[in-house]
């Protein structure tokens, strides 16, 4: 057939028909009627003929055809590429010469309109051209389209194109796609099984998407044993795999047994047969008793007015008679077994990597808690001042970042500016708060708690009044977008990596300040014995002020980081405050390593609980808090506890 057509075309080339302009037109004319009245059932030979014609324009024709951009001129029946230049006027271009033929009103033209089925078939034919297209990006696009929409007929052109592929990446992709298509549409079982085995343990989502449909089942019912013709996945035992009622209902649904009479059916039947205040000689007024209803119904059934109830014995008999089983849609058992094995392998691998992914998630959550808590570790842990407005300092930092972004549109620059500005803003706020309020309340921790809480609600409301209640975006720079992808299972966004790094930097800065600087020394001195420190020339007022400012300033920077990760609202701080305190308390007050461990524990715990119950992050938080309350039973002073007299009772 193809050869014949090719010969015909060749003939047409040799003997130009004067009425027609070129080989393409000839080809189109040869299939004119099929093209105009295309249908899925009849068009395949035409498409094949075009594909086989070897004309350089074939791809163009098919594309234009698929895009419904081929128009027939009514006066002579010739086909052209049509392009709307103005309303109802089309500019026609000749296929062979590429020259403009002229502008025609729509009424003089007839559009070639392939339906969607035909369009898809044209698309398939196009693929082989695209797969060998000189442009690598087009080849990649063709591979993508095959991957999206695999079909058996794509397999031969794909295989044919592998040999000539020059790009190693694309070649690997083609090989992989070939294997996947072979799994689905390979010619024989042996070939498919080889392909399946070669994919065992592969983590790609595409592999699972290919293998899973092979294991799709339908639920069937057989009278007696399962028929040997079926590829049975599992025989379902009523009572273990599904309840007896469910099993019976399946049999009923297959019209193999009479339906059970439900309480609702009984009620409706009784209501339909009320006879002068009684049903089946039982008074209606007593029918609120289920037992009486059954009696009345049985009486009706005895008369033959309603179908009899299905007794448990009937149900058992039906269940004994029929076998309910799941059968694979795939007929070959070797293929399903191989697919099952391959999937088991893959799932094992996937779960290993999921554990890794979960750990990375937990680590990044822990970094966020650590960031939120490190300021508290200073004010609460070192100074013993409980600051309920700490969360609001985080919020202030985040809003500072937002405001800076409104002023400096460049995201990278604005973040670089925002971090020191946020520090300064919250440092100032912290110092002001220490001077005005907290200074007067040292040694009265509960009062400090309440006073700082008053500040917290005031700050929250002020933020709400200024910025409104809706969330404000704090956009991260483009280089922080995206994620570091290890494979289809494990990936971690750059923002989270950045937050992790920031947390580590904070830890280093904190350790440096506390252990290597004069401020750290003085802070520790003032914390341990303010009177003695004072007599040694340290000004405790100043040290307290600076330390508190430092803790608050760090909260501000944490705010910028958290703002990148979460939406900035006036409630941002209160979302983190309880977790932050938990982090410090669980870790052990007065020890930065404790805070680190506390954050790690809470982060991993929360992710772990979420993993066990993924649908419900609210419940995860509940269970986490309960766990912490119990944890404190065993280590009341946290993971790293100060012992002895230093702990102070």
């Amino acid at each position: 057939m193809r050869h014949l057509l090719a010969a015909l075309v060749a003939l047409a080339l040799l003997i130009p028909v004067p009425a027609f302009a070129g080989p393409v037109q000839d080809l189109l004319q040869a299939h004119g009627s099929a093209i105009i009245k295309s249908s899925r059932k009849t068009i395949q030979p035409t498409i094949d003929a075009m594909a086989a014609s070897g004309l350089p324009e074939v791809q163009l024709i098919l594309q234009k055809w698929q895009a419904r951009e081929i128009w027939q001129r009514k006066e002579d029946g010739q086909f052209f590429i049509g392009e709307e230049v103005e309303k109802r006027v089309y500019r026609l271009t000749d296929f062979d010469t590429g020259e403009r033929v002229g502008d025609y009103p729509k009424k003089e033209l007839k559009q070639v309109k392939p339906n969607s089925g035909v369009q898809a078939m044209i698309g398939t034919a196009l693929v082989q051209f695209q797969l060998t297209d000189p442009d690598p990006s087009l080849r990649a696009a063709a591979l993508d389209s095959i991957q999206r929409d695999p079909a058996p007929e794509l397999l031969p052109p794909l295989r044919a194109s592998i040999e000539s592929e020059t790009d190693p990446t694309l070649k690997a992709q083609k090989d992989r796609l070939n294997t996947l298509l072979t799994i689905s549409y390979g010619a024989d079982d042996a070939e498919r099984i080889v392909a399946i085995d070669s994919m065992a343990g592969d983590l790609g989502v595409d592999v699972r998407a290919t293998l899973n449909p092979l294991l799709d089942t339908t639920r069937k019912i057989a009278d007696g044993d399962t028929p040997g013709t079926e590829n049975v996945a599992k025989v379902l035992v009523p009572g273990t795999d599904l309840t007896e009622t469910e099993a019976y209902d399946l049999i009923v649904a297959a019209w193999l047994a009479p339906a059970r009479i439900e309480p609702d059916d009984i009620r409706n039947a009784l209501a339909a047969h009320i006879d002068g205040g009684t049903v089946g000689s039982i008074p209606v007024a007593t029918l609120s008793d289920p037992a009486k209803r059954v009696l009345a119904y049985d009486a009706l059934a005895a008369n033959g007015t309603v179908p009899p109830r299905v007794t448990p014995a009937d149900q058992q008999a039906a269940l004994a008679q029929f076998t309910i089983y799941d059968a694979y849609l795939e007929p070959s058992q070797q293929v399903t077994d191989a697919a099952q094995d391959a999937l088991t392998d893959i799932e094992l691998n996937v779960s290993l990597y999921q554990t890794l992914d979960l750990s990375l998630d937990a680590l990044s959550l822990a970094s966020i808690y650590f960031l939120a808590a490190i300021g508290l570790a200073i004010t609460f842990g070192v100074m013993g001042v409980i600051n309920m407005a700490h969360g609001e300092f985080i919020m202030m930092g985040a809003y500072t970042g937002y405001v800076i972004q409104q002023i400096i549109p460049d995201y990278t620059l604005s973040i670089i500016v925002a971090i020191p500005v946020a520090f300064l803003v919250t440092f100032g706020a912290g110092v002001a708060m220490e001077r005005l309020v907290i200074r007067w309340l040292y040694h009265r921790p509960l009062e400090t708690l309440l006073a700082t809480f008053g500040i917290s609600i005031a700050l929250q409301q002020i933020a709400k009044n200024i910025f409104g209640t809706q969330a404000r975006p704090l956009t991260s720079p483009a280089w922080l977008d995206g994620a570091w992808v290890m494979n289809d299972v494990v990936s971690i966004s750059y923002i989270r990596i950045a937050i992790f790094c920031l947390a580590m930097i904070f830890l280093a800065v904190f350790l440096f300040i506390m252990n290597r600087t004069r401020l750290g020394l003085e802070t520790r001195a003032v914390t341990q014995n303010p009177r003695m420190a004072g007599s040694m020339g340290i000004n405790p007022d100043k040290v307290n002020m600076l330390t508190f400012g430092l803790g608050s300033g760090i909260a501000g920077i944490a705010g910028v980081a958290i703002g990148l990760y979460a939406k900035v609202t006036s409630e941002l701080g209160s979302d983190y405050i309880v977790q932050s305190f938990m982090t410090v308390v669980v870790g052990g007050v007065g020890n930065i390593w404790g805070t680190l461990l506390g954050a790690g524990m809470i982060g991993f715990l929360q992710k772990g609980i979420e993993w066990m119950n993924p649908s419900n992050t609210l419940a995860a938080q509940t269970y986490m808090i309960i766990f912490i309350i119990i944890f404190i039973q065993f280590r009341p002073r946290g993971i790293i506890a100060l012992k002895g007299r230093a702990a102070g009772d």
């Binding site: 309480p263 009620r267 009784l270 209501a271 009320i274 049903v279 209606v284 007024a285 029918l287 609120s288 008793d289 289920p290 209803r293 409980i386 309020v437 007067w440 309340l441 921790p445 509960l446 009062e447 708690l449 309440l450 006073a451 809480f453 008053g454 500040i455 917290s456 609600i457 005031a458 700050l459 929250q460 409301q461 002020i462 709400k464 009044n465 209160s574 309880v578 305190f581 938990m582 308390v585 419900n616 609210l618 419940a619 938080q621 509940t622 808090i625 309960i626 912490i628 309350i629 119990i630 404190i632 039973q633 065993f634 009341p636 009772d649």
Partner: protein
């Protein structure tokens, strides 16, 4: 509770008299029983305020006297509300369902009625089955018992865990706050069995009393709330007046010392914690039928912190202080946030009190903590001239003699 108790504590009698006068006055001015000068909704506000006063005096007992700054008592309050709400909602739905089913051709079975109620109540969270916690919802006595038992048991378990591990001071506050947060988050879930964030609603309609107008009901609840407040006041005043009061104040001031006197501090704290949780539960059970709706947001930690704010503003360690604080702050808050207070036009900016009240409240709270640690109740000391020297600093030791730390620094 003998005559000598009232003789020794005349302020209790004064308070009871004021409460009785207030209730009588409100009744006379009400829509349902009197001249109608006070609207029904305001009667409800007054009734709710009395319930808040009740939970505030419980807070005063646990914080002002025993020194446990609990940030969880509004959770107990909410639990009490939920417990009574379950019965109210069940019973009212049952009456409506029975009414509508009575027209059916066949009288419904009990199971059909229960199923219909379940669909009606839990349809909103996409369920129709009764969760186990609704086991007793058909029985008013059982739910009334749960009003006391559920907050009491939760307080018992939590308190036992917290106190035995010697969690004190701010740690305990944070822990109670975490407990409240956990409870609120749990109730926010749809499958918590209490209708998630929809909460329970329609609680203002008492089952079987459809004929009684809300104007009358509101006064009944006002009476009930006043009675509960009166009884609670007397109970707490009695608890703190004797040796028990001495011991818990001792625990507040120096826990270790009380321990070395041979008192099991944990037992006392637990007793006070549970007792006040129960009082809070009862207050909640009276409050929410007047509010009409309860949802988990009411139990958020912030509510408990506000409770502490009221008590602090009113004056800790004196029961009438808590009542004054709760009544004053909650009524003024209602007034400001209802939008009835005229905005102040500053030219460049208009201060809208609905937006700024919260700021004023927060800052005034800071001011009270800083400058009036005794709260409004401290004014009574000024009036009565009872201003004992405030000597709460640590001793300086033998050398500085009888001066205290703070005095020496001045």
């Amino acid at each position: 509770m003998s005559r000598s108790f009232f003789l020794k504590n005349p302020s209790v009698l004064v308070f009871i008299a004021c409460l009785a006068l207030f209730t009588l006055g409100a009744t006379i001015l009400s829509d349902g029983f009197g001249v109608g000068l006070i609207s029904t909704s305001f009667i409800k506000t007054l009734g709710k305020t009395l319930c808040l006063c009740l939970v505030a005096i419980a807070m005063d007992l646990v914080w002002g006297y025993a020194g446990i700054l609990s940030l969880g008592h509004m959770a107990f309050f909410g639990l009490g509300g939920y417990m009574i709400g379950m019965w109210l909602m069940y019973e009212r739905t049952r009456l409506i369902i029975t009414e509508s089913m009575s027209n059916a051709a066949i009288p419904p079975t009990d199971q059909e009625v229960v199923d219909a109620i379940g669909t009606q109540i839990f349809g909103v969270v996409g369920s129709s089955d009764f969760p186990t916690i609704w086991l007793f919802s058909a029985s008013l006595p059982m739910q009334l018992a749960l009003v006391v038992l559920v907050p009491g048991l939760l307080a018992l378990i939590f308190g036992w865990l917290a106190f035995r591990s010697r969690v004190t001071g701010v740690y305990l506050s944070i822990l109670t706050q975490a407990m409240t947060l956990a409870l609120a988050l749990y109730l926010f879930q749809n499958d918590s069995g209490l209708r998630g964030n929809n909460g329970l609603s329609g609680l203002q309609n008492l089952p079987g009393l459809d004929a009684v107008p809300q104007s009358t009901l509101s006064v009944w609840f006002l009476w009930a709330s006043a009675l509960a407040l009166g009884l609670g006041y007397v109970l707490i005043a009695w608890v703190v007046s004797g040796k028990f009061g001495s011991v818990i104040r001792g625990i507040r001031d120096d826990e270790a010392r009380v321990r070395f006197l041979g008192y099991s501090v944990e037992g006392y704290k637990l007793f006070v914690f549970v007792l006040t949780a129960i009082i809070a539960g009862i207050a909640g059970a009276l409050y929410y039928p007047q509010a009409g709706i309860i949802n988990p947001a009411e139990m958020a930690p912030i509510a408990s912190i506000y409770l502490a704010v009221w008590v602090a503003i009113g004056g800790r360690g004196r029961i009438y202080g808590a009542v004054i604080g709760a009544a004053l702050v909650s009524l003024v808050s209602t007034w400001f946030t209802s939008g009835q207070v005229p905005s102040i036009n500053l030219g460049v900016y208009t201060v809208n009190w609905v937006d700024w009240w919260q700021v004023v409240l927060g800052l005034s709270f800071v001011l009270v903590t800083l400058y009036a640690p005794k709260g409004i109740g401290g004014l009574f000391d000024l009036i009565s001239g009872r201003t004992p020297p405030n000597r709460h600093g640590k001793d300086l030791g033998p050398d500085a003699g009888s001066l205290q730390e703070q005095e020496a620094e001045q």
